[in-house]
């Protein structure tokens, strides 16, 4: 079940709906380059619930058709330069959301339900620009009670990075439960890990509750420091200097191309 990164990247066909996690949850930065090498275009990204460096790089490489997200930024390093440029140029379609709406859509998919009702949103321009979101009158209320329905979000592929998997294909996700939510909702889940352990993570009651079972995991590859320059919870901190270096370089399309060609793709 342990594959290399290029084998994982083959799942990413043109036009797939690809779910990627928030910057602190476990981003598989190690997969960014193998996906770019395949030059698979027209990707529809789903950021769970926000996007950062990986999303900006896939957009900068021209591989992205649309982005569904609650935000895209480089955190302390500021705005996401290639995302912002693509918005200004009209190069990508936007599905602006709010964090709990992304979670609600994944939750609906997890349950095999067509939608999830959600409070908030009414009167916002987010709702006005989302023809896929619908307002109904709560059928259980006595009086009028409008509520928004968020359709199920069913990604073709989820990709994330985690500290470890066992040799049975179970993945340790700890308290980062959004990674499980993504995997439950997705047809295919690709995971990179720091290491593979011999003993089953499900054999120990202390670890079992923090495990995404192999049932939901399609392929695993080992990628040490695979979240870099992002950090990985419990393992290593974010390399803020490297993200700042990227933020400066990627202000222009040329600077971005230069960075992607010449910058080292692994931690020093």
């Amino acid at each position: 079940m342990v594959s290399d990164l290029r084998a994982l990247a083959k799942y990413v066909e043109p036009g797939v709906r690809l779910a990627l996690p928030v910057d602190y949850a476990g981003v598989s930065m190690a997969m960014t380059r193998p996906i770019m090498e395949r030059n698979t275009r027209n990707l529809d990204l789903v950021c769970v619930p926000t996007g950062g460096l990986q999303v900006d790089q896939l957009i900068g490489a021209g591989l992205v058709r649309s982005v569904e997200t609650s935000a895209v930024s480089l955190g302390e390093a500021g705005g996401a330069p290639r995302f912002n440029a693509a918005v200004k140029d009209g190069a990508i379609a936007l599905k602006d959301a709010t964090c709990p709406a992304i979670h609600a859509g994944l939750m609906a998919a997890q349950k095999g339900s067509p939608f999830m009702p959600m409070r908030g949103l009414i009167g916002s321009d987010l709702l006005r620009h989302r023809s896929d979101w619908h307002v109904i009158d709560n059928p259980l209320a006595d009086g009028s009670d409008p509520i928004v329905l968020i359709p199920a979000i069913k990604p073709d592929i989820t990709i994330f990075h985690a500290p470890m998997a066992d040799r049975y294909g179970n993945v340790w996700i700890g308290r980062r439960r959004e990674l499980a939510a993504m995997a439950y909702a997705s047809a295919t889940t690709l995971v990179t890990v720091e290491r593979i352990v011999d003993d089953s993570l499900l054999a120990n009651e202390m670890s079992a509750a923090g495990v995404l079972p192999a049932l939901y995991v399609t392929e695993i590859a080992v990628a040490p420091k695979g979240a870099w320059p992002y950090g990985l919870w419990g393992e290593y901190p974010t390399d803020t200097a490297e993200i700042l270096r990227y933020a400066r370089a990627a202000r222009s399309a040329e600077g971005f191309a230069d960075y992607m060609t010449n910058a080292q793709m692994e931690p020093a």
């Binding site: 705005g79 709010t98 709990p100 709406a101 949103l121 409008p146 308290r175 439960r177």
Partner: protein, 256 residues
């Protein structure tokens, strides 16, 4: 004798007052001043022998009680388990609408900001939302936002258990009156005046003819802030805590 009060310390102490009485306050990522305000309130309460509020700081491992991923904050808020939260905004308008998306016509906004994050939910369901924006200029505080990430008020019949209670900037404190709807000038921070506030504010607001000055912290509060609270803040925001401690050592004319 302590050095003079730093302008940001007035903001921190004002936030602690606005939060008085909350059981659970959540603070977003990269928000050191709101976090310091919440920590100051907790320290004051505990000094008085009370329990003080629970504080959840997003993005912090130490000050985070959640084990159910990034959805848990919103589930918590939706049930009324979070009493207070802070929102900023690239633009905030006179009706309390917030724009976190960008300027100009959507979607091809010439200036794009990150996005709405959780605002289009939390603003509806958290009872005490404090709008906090240090920049007090006509481009930040506008008559009408270019894009409503989340509205200040909702029509009758729309579920709304939360919303804005105040707007705090580097120059002044406003209270939000949802019946008008609009902002009332509550107090002006030291060093600013009504004419200057009017020039710097892009929307109309109600005010007394002689507005109050924002209260300064007493010596006991200031001592707690400069001792225990900056120590606690330093665990999550080391750069901010160090900067505050450097600046309060200098004469006020050089600070901020």
């Amino acid at each position: 004798m302590m050095s003079e009060v730093h302008p940001r310390e007035i903001l921190i102490c004002t936030i602690a007052k606005l939060l008085d009485g909350v059981r659970h306050v959540a603070v977003g990522a990269s928000s050191p001043i709101p976090a310091a305000g919440a920590m100051l309130l907790r320290a004051l309460k505990q000094q008085a022998g009370e329990k003080g509020p629970r504080i959840s700081i997003l993005g912090s491992v130490e000050h985070n009680f959640f084990t159910n991923g990034s959805a848990e904050l919103f589930d918590c808020a939706g049930q009324g388990r979070i009493d207070a939260f802070f929102l900023g905004g690239g633009q905030i308008d006179g009706r309390g609408n917030i724009n976190l998306v960008g300027t100009g016509d959507y979607p091809q906004t010439p200036v794009r900001w990150p996005g709405s994050f959780g605002s289009a939910y939390l603003y509806y369901v958290v009872p005490r939302v404090i709008l906090f924006r240090e920049e007090h200029t006509p481009r930040a505080l506008v008559e009408k936002v270019d894009f409503i990430s989340t509205p200040g008020v909702s029509d009758n019949g729309v579920y709304r258990s939360g919303g804005p209670i105040a707007l705090l900037t580097s120059k002044a404190l406003f209270r939000f009156d949802k019946t008008r709807p609009g902002f009332d000038l509550q107090s002006i921070h030291p060093g600013h005046d009504l004419a200057g506030i009017k020039d710097a504010t892009g929307f109309q607001f109600a005010h007394e003819s002689q507005p109050e000055q924002t209260a300064l912290p007493d010596q006991q509060t200031l001592a707690l802030l400069r001792g225990r609270v900056y120590d606690e803040v330093a665990e999550t925001y080391p750069d901010f805590a160090a900067q505050m401690r450097r600046e309060i050592e200098r004469p006020l004319s050089h600070a901020s």
